[in-house]
Structures are given as structure tokens and as C-alpha cells.
């Protein structure tokens, strides 16, 4: 990580002035010097974001079998025995092949482009009523189980940072860039 440089050093002031494109009011572009340097330890503690390329996936792992146990205790009540969803939580499995039909079912298996999102979201947000309660091993395990429910991960295999990144989600290529405006004179292209 880049070292902290005190804001009031002449070097930093000049660099900042250049960065901010110091114009006529050049004197006003000196840095404000507010805030304090973040320590590596506090950044590490706060940074729970996992990228699709696997940045920040923690050590640890678990199998779908172990995940079934976590799931039954902590998830099933809201998401159903087989991830079919319920009154308190959306479906987590099923729906593959349904996206182009009149009744699409969007789930982890049918819709999500990246398996990393499942790890990241489960760790930060689930179980809904007690987010943050799961250990990294439990998150890997229950992620393996939800993927397994969708036919995307074998029962006995251990899910960890390496094996998670190898999973190709069925709808990985199902997304296109925003091509709006899509109506009237402003439409970017003729009808799809």
C-alpha cells in the first residue's frame, strides 16, 4: 500500500495543484488536509468486498455437505428446503432456461453471472435476520450448497478461493451493456 505523505509537504501541494488542474485561483487548490491516514489493519478489517476476479476472497473453505447443515439451521426457514423460496425469502435455485419465457425465474442458478457474488452477498447480508454471523468457512460451505442445489457444484468437493473462481455460471454471458435510449428519435439503434 502507498505510504501516507503529510498533506502539508510542498511536494504534495504542488502535485495536488497539478492534479486538480490549478487555474486562475491556483492558491485555492492547496489540499484541505482533513481526515487521517487509514491503517492497513483497519482497511483489512473493513474490506469485505470480493471482486469477480477473486480479489479479497479469504482463506478457508467448505463442502456442500457441511453447507447443507448451515443451510438447514440458518437459511431454510426463509428460502425453503431446496431453495425454492418462501414467504420470507426469494428462490435461490431453479429457473434455468426460463429467462426468455413469459415467466422467467431469476435465481442464483439461472441468472447470476458470477459465483463470487454469492459468496460476497451471503457473507455480508445473510442470514437476513443476523447478517455477519457466519464464519468464512461457513460462508464457503453454504455457498457450495446453494451452488449444489443449482447443479453447479459437486457434493463432496471443497469450495475455496481457487475452486470458487473456476465455476462458470450458466448465465455468465447473459448480460449486455445499457443500450438506452431505446425509443423514439433518441433511440440508439433500430428495434432489437
Amino acid at each position: 500500500m502507498a505510504a501516507w505523505k503529510p498533506h502539508n509537504s510542498l511536494f504534495v501541494r504542488l502535485a495536488m495543484a497539478a492534479l486538480l488542474g490549478a487555474g486562475a485561483a491556483g492558491a485555492q487548490t492547496a489540499t484541505l488536509g482533513l481526515g487521517r491516514a487509514a491503517t492497513p489493519a483497519e482497511i483489512q478489517a473493513a474490506d469485505i468486498s470480493v471482486s469477480p476476479s477473486g480479489v479479497n476472497l479469504p482463506p478457508g473453505g467448505g463442502t456442500a455437505g457441511q453447507g447443507a447443515d448451515v443451510y438447514q439451521r440458518r437459511c431454510q426457514r426463509c428460502h425453503g428446503a431446496k431453495g425454492e423460496g418462501g414467504e420470507e425469502g426469494p428462490a435461490l435455485a431453479g429457473g434455468q432456461g426460463s429467462l426468455a419465457t413469459p415467466k422467467p425465474l431469476k435465481t442464483v442458478g439461472s441468472y447470476w453471472p458470477h459465483a463470487t457474488t454469492l459468496f460476497d452477498y451471503t457473507r455480508r447480508a445473510m442470514p437476513f435476520n443476523q447478517p455477519g454471523i457466519l464464519t468464512n468457512d461457513q460462508v464457503y460451505a453454504v455457498t457450495a450448497y446453494v451452488l449444489h442445489l443449482n447443479g453447479l457444484f459437486p457434493a463432496g468437493q471443497r469450495l475455496d478461493a481457487q475452486s470458487l473462481l473456476k465455476i462458470k455460471m450458466p448465465n455468465r454471458d447473459g448480460f449486455i451493456p445499457d443500450d438506452r435510449p431505446d425509443t423514439g428519435k433518441s433511440a440508439k439503434k433500430a428495434k432489437r
Binding site: I43, A46, R124
Partner: protein, 407 residues
């Protein structure tokens, strides 16, 4: 006259004026005699108070559906009861994913890290000391009007369009803060995370982050309400509501978007061929008539002012047209000035109601020349399952008895 109302050191002139006035009043009293003594005196009103309340006669309220998980739910602004362009903070729509956290601003920190030269922690006090700006912007959930895709139309403007509100936001430009910390060249995205229990997170492109995004701490002249992100939230002008991360506590600069749950599973727009649009950030231009609107009843034929709101995520509203004959003819409405960019614009249109059936609708055009489409135009391109970003024209049908419903 009570002494405290006088200037502290009255000059001679003031003193003389006061004396003269006192004399006049005394003379009047004498003339009136005692005639007022038989009447009840006016009773005094309530004394001054520390925080204002609305009149007990006023009942405008947010609406929400019953839910087993009301912490992951939404409440809708009563647009039919709002005036001008600002939404009272107490009526601003809500969409939470794990409830409203209780945050002590003294404990709250904003951590900015990742691809910046100087990873930094800011207190709220640090942010309040920075050069500030105030800007009027709407927020709209991209799921607003999602119920209107199908044949079952929302019965009133609150349930159909109430996931949109408009406020004056005060805070610091994100570009200023990022400039202070030194953004590295490889930083193409900013991952914004809230301090709510689920740590809701979204990816924001660098270009927008360095343009007009606000780190906002105030709304309509007072601290942001807890439901709106107290003590700090992102305001991303014109972009879908979910990106305006509330209870903001962390920004990470990264080379890639993080594909969070709320930008993949949710807030992506499914098209008829099964592909889905990703990162549909801008809110297309949209307008709706708030009076007369569904559920209301016109009190009688004659003059009525048709009024409503228009907004665009791509800039200023340039034109609103109103039709009172089911879309056969359109005439321009008057637009309230000033018209802010990416903000509600109030429109007004004088109307003589003859007493028969009528279909009323509005359509707006923004500064890019884009004109709000009819629902059929949207469906022709997007099919029935894209759910989000329904900005179509909203017709209201007035019946002969004056009652109004969704057409």
C-alpha cells in the same frame, strides 16, 4: 409597549414616536368605551416549541405493503399531496434492504481506500469542514412504476409513481474528496458500501464519481433523516435510486466493477431474448399528472388546474405537454422556474372540465431531446419482463361523475 420590544438605547426620536403612538391608542380605547368587555376574549395559541409539527388536520402519509420482512421493503411518497418540487423529508420514499440503522454521527467514519495515493478515514466533522454545495435532485427507485408493465395498473399516483422524491441535498462533492486523496490511473470504479446491517454495496464508474456525485449530510435544510441515510449518503444525480448508497461508510477504488447482488440479481433489466441489460444507471425522462389522478374526485365541472411532475436523469426538463383528449392533441404546460438539472420540475395546465369523460396524460422532453414514450413503445422494445425503468406516459381516466382512475 413592553420594554423588551424597544431598542436597547432608544434615541430621542424613537422615544417620542412611541409616546405619540401610546397616546393614540389610549384615545381609541376611550372612544370605544367598554363595549368589548362583554365578549369572550380571543384565547392564546400554543407557545413556541423546539421542533415543528404539521397541522393535525394534515394526513398525507407514505404507503407500504404488508410484508413479512418489512426491513427489506419500500414505502411510497404521496405525490398527490405534495406541492412545488420539494418532497418533505418525512414523506421521502424509502427502500431498505435490512432496515434503518441507528448511527451516532460522532462514531461514524468514512473510509476511502483501494487505488488512491492516500487511503483516508474521515469523521463527519472532517466532511462538514470541507467546501460544501447544495443541489436540488430527484431520487427514483428504478423499480418505480414496475407494477404498471402488466394489465393491472397502479390505482393511484402514490402507488404507481411514489418511489420518486426530490430534495435539496447539501454535502461535499465526491470529486473534491477523491482529488484530495489522489486517484490512481487504474482506478476505474468506486465500490460504495453502506453501514446498514447487510452492508449494501454498489459499483459506481469513475467518470460519474468525478463528475457531480455528492457526499450528502443534509436534506431540505436539516440533517438527513435516518431513513434517508443519516448521517451520510451518496447522491448520484439522475442515476437509479439504489446507487445512492445510504449510511455510507466505505468507498473502495478498484479497476473493475464488483458485480454486487444489487447490480446483477437485481436492478438489471431482462429483455425478451433472455439477455439482460447491466448497469442501467440513468433514469429516463418521465412525467406524471398528480392532479387530477387516480383515486381523486373532481368536485364539479369548470376550472381545474392540471398539475404534475416531470424529471430526467439526463438533465433539465425542456418541455411538458398535456393531452386532455386521450392523446389526440397535445398542448404545452407551463413549467415552474427555476428548472434544476436532474430534479423534479412542476408543470401546470389550466383546464375547463366540461363534465364528460376525459383521458388526461402528460409527456415530457428533456434537454437531450429525448421524449417520454408510451407504454406500448417500451413494451415493443423491452418486452414484459424488464421490470425496472418504466418511464412510460401515464393516462388517467376522468369519469362523468368526476372520479378518476388509471386508464
Amino acid at each position: 409597549m413592553p420594554e423588551r420590544d424597544l431598542p436597547r438605547r432608544p434615541g430621542r426620536r424613537v422615544f417620542l414616536q412611541t409616546a405619540a403612538l401610546g397616546g393614540t391608542l389610549a384615545a381609541c380605547a376611550k372612544q370605544d368605551g367598554d363595549s368589548a368587555a362583554d365578549q369572550e376574549p380571543n384565547r392564546l395559541g400554543k407557545p413556541v416549541s423546539d421542533y415543528g409539527r404539521r397541522s393535525p388536520f394534515e394526513k398525507a402519509a407514505r404507503k407500504f405493503r404488508e410484508s413479512k420482512t418489512p426491513e427489506a421493503s419500500a414505502s411510497f411518497t404521496p405525490l398527490q399531496d405534495c406541492h412545488g418540487i420539494l418532497t418533505p423529508a418525512s414523506l421521502h420514499f424509502e427502500r431498505h434492504h435490512s432496515g434503518v440503522p441507528a448511527i451516532d454521527p460522532k462514531q461514524h467514519r468514512l473510509l476511502v481506500h483501494g487505488l488512491v495515493e492516500r487511503p483516508t478515514v474521515f469523521t463527519m466533522e472532517d466532511l462538514r469542514r470541507m467546501p460544501s454545495v447544495s443541489r436540488v435532485h430527484f431520487l427514483e427507485c428504478s423499480g418505480n412504476s414496475s407494477g404498471d408493465w402488466g394489465p393491472q395498473r397502479a390505482p393511484d399516483v402514490q402507488r404507481g409513481h411514489g418511489l420518486a422524491s426530490c430534495s435539496e441535498w447539501t454535502g461535499v462533492l465526491l470529486s473534491l474528496v477523491l482529488g484530495e486523496l489522489g486517484v490512481q490511473r487504474e482506478a476505474q470504479w468506486v465500490i460504495a458500501e453502506g453501514a446498514d446491517p447487510c452492508k449494501m454495496a454498489r459499483s459506481l464508474p469513475r467518470k460519474k464519481a468525478l463528475d457531480d456525485v455528492l457526499l450528502a449530510y443534509a436534506q431540505n435544510g436539516e440533517a438527513i433523516r435516518p431513513e434517508q441515510g443519516y448521517p451520510l449518503r451518496l447522491v448520484v444525480p439522475g442515476w437509479e435510486g439504489n446507487l445512492n448508497v445510504k449510511w455510507l461508510h466505505r468507498l473502495k477504488l478498484t479497476p473493475e466493477p464488483y458485480m454486487t447482488k444489487d447490480e446483477t440479481s437485481k436492478y438489471t433489466d431482462l429483455l425478451p431474448d433472455g439477455k439482460a441489460r447491466l448497469f442501467t444507471f440513468e433514469m429516463d425522462a418521465k412525467s406524471v399528472i398528480t392532479y387530477p389522478s387516480g383515486g381523486q374526485k373532481l368536485s364539479g365541472p369548470g376550472f381545474h388546474e392540471i398539475t404534475g411532475l416531470a424529471w430526467s436523469g439526463r438533465g433539465r426538463i425542456e418541455k411538458v405537454e398535456v393531452s386532455v383528449d386521450g392523446g389526440q392533441t397535445w398542448r404545452p404546460a407551463a413549467l415552474q422556474e427555476p428548472r434544476h438539472r436532474m430534479a423534479f420540475t412542476r408543470f401546470r395546465y389550466p383546464w375547463q372540465w366540461e363534465g364528460g369523460e376525459a383521458v388526461l396524460q402528460s409527456r415530457c422532453t428533456d434537454e437531450t431531446g429525448y421524449t417520454q414514450p408510451a407504454l406500448e413503445e417500451l413494451i415493443a422494445v423491452r418486452g414484459m419482463n424488464s421490470n425496472y425503468h418504466n418511464n412510460s406516459i401515464k393516462p388517467w381516466k376522468v369519469a362523468a361523475d368526476g372520479s378518476v382512475e388509471a386508464a
